[in-house]
Symmetry: C2
Subunit: 226 residues, 2 copies
């Protein structure tokens, strides 16, 4: 049987670039659970009908299908309690970390990298460009046109993360937990699709990201990226 | 014996106005632990020498002195495990909530209310004004002069909190936990010293604050304020 993870990619099936898929990927890696990656493209909604869902990630564990990265984290802790605990028995404060990441980090990052995504896509490119241009109300090139000027404000918005990492290797403390997976997923999304340097080399968040890249035998560091 | 809490006040010993003291106050209230409030003023550092500390809050539990709001929360969970758990066995993600609160909420709020504090103080007023003017590099009146114009940006910066409260009564979920104490402490600080309406009435954070004010028999709602 074994675990299977439906993950977002484009023409290269090994190049996984959804922040939510990376949360699930890192969660599996931190728990030391091997899994088979099943490539999935935007618009292949019918392939997820078995899970009664239309987005990735979807985890398949034997007969069980678990859609949604948050539900996957909770499921993995329940189903594999003998491995590293992602949510340490109390999911509530991790919802705050997710809320911060989604509204600050992820909402910021998309405006730096969204125009780098279409070249990675095949026939689903038209869907992606049209839906995102509708969301932003302008062309993707226009969204990211002034990204160099916007970098300082974005980096400043990450101050809570720097503060939280003072004296700690990971948001989880000495060992990473699901808080690290949440924020790292967003940074991996950027790393896989865009050559832009979001972080300065002397930023404590950069050092944290390096530690995350090295986890699980360098799983994230060795992933195809820009 | 009973619990004693050294708390910051000015000329009115019942008007407690430190955000960190309010974290400790709410923590005790959530746990249902009665305590005696010991008024303490800025500059009375020698009165805290027994705790080898120079700031409030300091909790005294029999022979034990516990300074620092974070240490107090950890101590209370350890010493009173039969009461509501503040950190639910895993302090790590609460450090992220504290980091966000300190760098966004508290760093924002001080610039709206710092000029409202001196009228509450007695002979320690000179110390307070001088030290804060040095910190801000200008007069306290100048710090808050444009506060009405800065309110929209401050309210926008609270978006992660709104997101985290979607579908939940408290950051802790159905019941409050220490995440709620952390953020509420900052809002109580503002409520006690300033008449400024930081939140709009239709803000979900306003509704959350109302719920917090009602906890423990309205302990916070009934506290002296502006």
């Amino acid at each position: 049987m074994g675990l299977k993870l439906f993950e977002l990619c484009g023409t290269d099936p090994t190049r996984v670039f959804s922040p939510f898929c990376w949360r699930a990927r890192m969660a599996l890696a931190l728990k030391g659970l091997p899994f088979e990656s099943i490539p999935w493209r935007f618009t292949e909604t019918e392939r997820l009908a078995f899970a009664q869902h239309d987005k990735v990630p979807v985890l398949v564990d034997g007969e069980r299908a678990v859609p949604d990265s948050w539900a996957i984290a909770q499921y993995l802790d329940e189903a594999y309690p003998e491995t590293l605990s992602l949510l340490r028995g109390n999911p509530q404060p991790y919802l705050f970390v997710a809320a911060w990441n989604d509204t600050v980090v992820q909402a910021g990052v998309v405006r730096f990298i969204v125009s780098d995504i279409p070249p990675l896509l095949g026939e689903e490119k038209a869907y992606f460009v049209e839906s995102r241009e509708k969301r932003f109300g302008t062309t993707l090139a226009a969204v990211t046109a002034d990204r160099d000027e916007k970098l300082p404000a974005f980096r400043a918005s990450l101050q809570p993360m720097r503060h939280a990492l003072r004296g700690r290797a990971f948001l989880g403390g000495d060992t990473p937990d699901y808080a690290d997976c949440i924020v790292f997923g967003t940074f991996m999304w950027a790393r896989v699709v865009s050559p832009l340097a979001l972080l300065e080399a002397d930023d404590p968040i950069h050092a944290w990201r390096e530690r995350m890249l090295d986890l699980a035998g360098g799983m994230a560091r060795n992933a195809p990226c820009c």
